[in-house]
Symmetry: C2
């Protein structure tokens, strides 16, 4: 009780998310707002009535592969994408689920070979009457939000090199900004911005510096040309600072020897800007600051996890921070204006590094836990899927807590030295997963980002929990691989309600209000490709539920 | 009001379905009982509280093709199949939807080419601790109901000739009886019975008589060898009479010239037992009586629709009848012991025949409406999909009414003379569909089988309504192509409740009771292949909803 009271106090001290980022009663961006908080001020559904929650309607998405989409709600229209590229973008009446239009682009045959991790899609972005969606075929498309007709289409990248688009772009003023995947295919990453109206390219920033640019000397020889550091995840935007934040992927190839020494003594070969958080000037794409969480990565500790922007009391001062639960197992708090590292604490069991040196920002590595050629590092934690993967976390300014769908897997992993072939995997996969300390495979947890410690956690014997939503109703919502969609008490983690959707849930829920009624929505549909990498643990995932593909929308009974 | 009162009186006179066929509170056979009434005595959910119905849980079926499965509930276990052959048989906790076992047989690659009308499956049958399922690969399999392990497997037919199993078999005493599809591939039909315990074949009855057998001379030359008359639908069983009832498919090929004269003057060439209702002795498979609804069929007026067994007051006498809403548009009432035709009335607009001659049982054909080689019959009603297709009807002994998911399509159709090639379509498709009189494409209707007239109807501008369920709660449930699942007042057809499942519903609902709680369940998932035959009308179907594959289970709120 004392701890809860203290938390309440913290919450009352906290300023909310910056006013300019504040939510309407819709859900206008992938992360709820461009701060990626996934917090909603709606409170009609709360701890006392959530047990009555029921399905209002369902939409079949017409596809069965990994469903990862976050719907948007703008006005009374709900936009959601299916998997397969997307196979479909749907615009629906957000009250009834009746389809207003459907955009069903041709998905090139055989495109699956150019994806590392399934033919998924995470949703659309919205601005000024247009809906923007990235496609597996390397195109960013702008659709008329009323009709679904293509307004413009831009080729971001040639997908046949193994570079696909699967995340919604970031909206910043008049621009729409996107990256692409390909860190497993030897792509060299970049971000590109287009004018929302015309589709004209405004800027392009390489995430692996070329010759003559600062950071290019962090790569051995010509390795920068295939350096990875792609941007396949979700961006954030702070309109006051006019900064866009993105995490970059692992460097290519996975084995470190192509990019520097095959050891933890990598000296200058940090391989910038791989596994890095970047802050870019929204108007020009200039990199204003960077923080590399895993220098010379050899574990696939991909740094793409989303940055959540919040204003937190750090050292007694309200501070604009960016929060990141990194694949590498550290939870980072970074001053989002200066890039200064404020804290780095393990949120899951970690043994590849002892700590992070706060002076240099560098992890203090445990040398025997780095995979090397002809050397198998054993019992390395976390597993390459990370302490958290792409499934989004949520920051609740009322509790001051971050809700993290964390993973608890470790691995044995050998180094490798693959040969590059265009459009093929640029890695040799040799990693055996196992459950981490405690024997559970995942844990949905509440994390205090100021104290750098866990507040509560719900361990799950199976892996791959779904993304999080927190609300002013004192609730946190998330799904699991067994298909259960749950509402928890945000302060205690106690389960207050659950519903069986019949297929695994990876995607994150949203909430919105229309005509005085609050709805909660989530996409259900088990991950398809991830189990293929996980041996016996993957078999457990497949056995947990069939593939699926449905949007579920929930409401309270009308009387 | 007067009419309703009269109906009530009729209902009170009616004996219920024969006692031996009476339902438990589960759902033990495809048609609810082996009389195929699809009527449940459960009444906790009724006209006054159905508006509160809500989703209890959902199961993703892991497949997206035409979903046609009726679940069974035996004890506290619910059994349901997916499409694709089936791709999966699921056994679930009928309260929570938690999967107990899953049977996922290999589905041969390319099997789709041997199916006329998609890789669907209509569900399982149950008897004495075993679950029986027909597979597209021509096998009937017995599974242990507790574990899902194969007890035995029998090859019914070689699927590579274009003969697949897609319907659950019929249970009769110690036997399990099945047919197969193939009327579009020149298969010669038969029914086969196996011992439930051992899988040993007990009898086999050809539905096209061979040389020397009565009826063989109803075929021109050797045409009987490719005669069709396959049994791909659902059987009924009357344990008192020990008779099994099945409808047979169209003759092969579609065009009549191979099988007799290419005209309505077909003389003896009726092509027995195609488009026929058969009553067979359950122990021996002997054909006890037959009634051919469409002699020398040239329209694909496939006669497979299910026989519903009821005891009705005919001519003032309670009479054991079999009811059939035929593809050819006539609603037949047949004495189910003797095979005597008691009535034949059009339940949809018909113009291929003026009437049925009650003395001979033969339709009085309109010659110009028969398609012939080099002759296109125009505006023929009904369309080849029939006045009703496989979607099951329901008989409610309380109202005395049959609830029919009827179709209202007509066509222009030419005759054809195809060449036989093993494993290929044995037909030339040349039929253009159009909406029938009134402009609507379908109508969910209540039909008085004694008076031979429609009592009420709900026209739908789109085709392909879902199968029916009636209950003692005064309700009729069915779905539609837009994905809405509806509860109607059984006496008036008034819609009392609807729910948007997000994909078209063709399958029929069921209801069951467990721990004092009544559930209603239905499989959602739009037909995939039927629209391909329907041109612009098919496009409307595809646009109506995405493909899907989910079992929805509904309940009343607990308080």
């Amino acid at each position: 009780m004392k701890r809860l009271a203290a938390l309440s106090l913290v919450a009352s001290i906290l300023s909310l998310a910056p006013a300019a980022l504040a939510q309407t009663t819709g859900w206008s961006a992938y992360g709820g707002d461009t701060a990626n908080t996934r917090y909603s001020p709606l409170a009609r559904i709360g701890t006392t009535n959530v047990a009555q929650l029921r399905v209002a309607w369902v939409l079949s998405l017409g596809s069965l592969r990994s469903q990862e989409s976050t719907p948007l709600v703008v006005g009374d229209t709900l936009y959601v994408t299916s998997s397969h590229g997307p196979k479909h973008v749907f615009a629906l009446d957000a009250r009834t689920g009746v389809v207003r239009w459907r955009y069903s682009p041709e998905v090139p045959a055989g495109i699956e070979q150019f994806t590392c991790c399934d033919v998924h899609n995470r949703g659309v972005s919205y601005a000024n009457g247009k809906v923007f969606v990235g496609r597996l075929d390397g195109h960013l498309v702008a659709l008329d939000a009323k009709t679904g007709k293509e307004a413009w289409k831009a080729q971001v990248v040639d997908y046949t090199q193994g570079s696909v688009l699967n995340s919604p772009p970031t909206i910043a003023k008049n621009l729409v900004v996107t990256g692409f995947a390909g860190g497993e295919f030897g792509a060299r990453g970049y971000l590109v911005a287009y004018d929302q109206d015309s589709g004209k390219e405004a800027w392009r920033t390489w995430t692996v510096p070329g010759p003559g640019e600062p950071g290019n000397d962090s790569w051995k020889g010509d390795s920068w040309k295939l350096g990875g550091a792609t941007v396949w995840g979700i961006g954030s935007y702070d309109p006051k600072l006019n900064l866009i934040y993105y995490g970059t992927s692992n460097p290519s190839p996975w084995g470190g020897i192509a990019r520097g020494p095959d050891s933890s003594q990598y000296g200058p070969f940090t391989n910038l800007y791989s596994s890095t958080t970047l802050a870019l000037d929204a108007d020009t794409g200039r990199i204003v600051w960077h923080y590399q969480s895993t220098p010379h990565d050899a574990w696939d500790y991909d740094g793409v996890n989303e940055l959540v922007l919040a204003d937190l009391p750090v050292g007694g001062q309200t501070t604009p921070v960016a929060l990141k639960a990194d694949r590498n197992g550290f939870f980072y708090v970074i001053h989002r204006q200066t890039g200064k590292l404020l804290s780095a604490k393990p949120f899951v069991p970690i043994n590849w590094a002892k700590d992070v040196d706060m002076a240099t920002g560098r992890p203090v590595e445990v040398p025997e836990k780095r995979p090397k050629l002809n050397y198998r590092a054993t019992d390395v934690c976390p597993h390459l899927l990370g302490g958290k993967n792409w499934q989004p976390m949520s920051f609740d300014p009322q509790t001051g807590l971050v809700y993290i769908p964390s993973l608890n897997l470790c691995m044995d992993m050998s180094g490798s030295e693959p040969q590059y072939q265009r459009g093929k995997f640029y890695l040799k996969f040799d990693a055996a997963p196992k459950a981490g300390p405690g024997g559970h495979q995942s844990e949905f947890m509440a994390w205090d980002p100021v104290k750098g410690q866990k507040v509560w956690g719900n361990p799950d014997d199976l892996v791959w929990p779904g993304g999080a939503l927190s609300t002013a109703g004192g609730l946190v919502f998330h799904g699991d691989i067994r298909g259960w969609f749950k509402a928890l008490d945000a302060r205690t983690g106690k389960m207050l309600w659950e519903f069986n959707t019949g297929s695994g849930i990876s995607a994150a829920p949203i909430t919105y209000e229309l005509d005085g009624k609050q709805y909660v929505a989530v996409v259900s549909g088990r991950t398809f490709t991830i189990p293929l990498f996980l041996g016996a643990i993957g078999k457990q995932m497949v056995d947990a539920t069939p593939e699926g593909g449905s949007l579920f929308v929930f409401e309270l009974p009308t009387k």
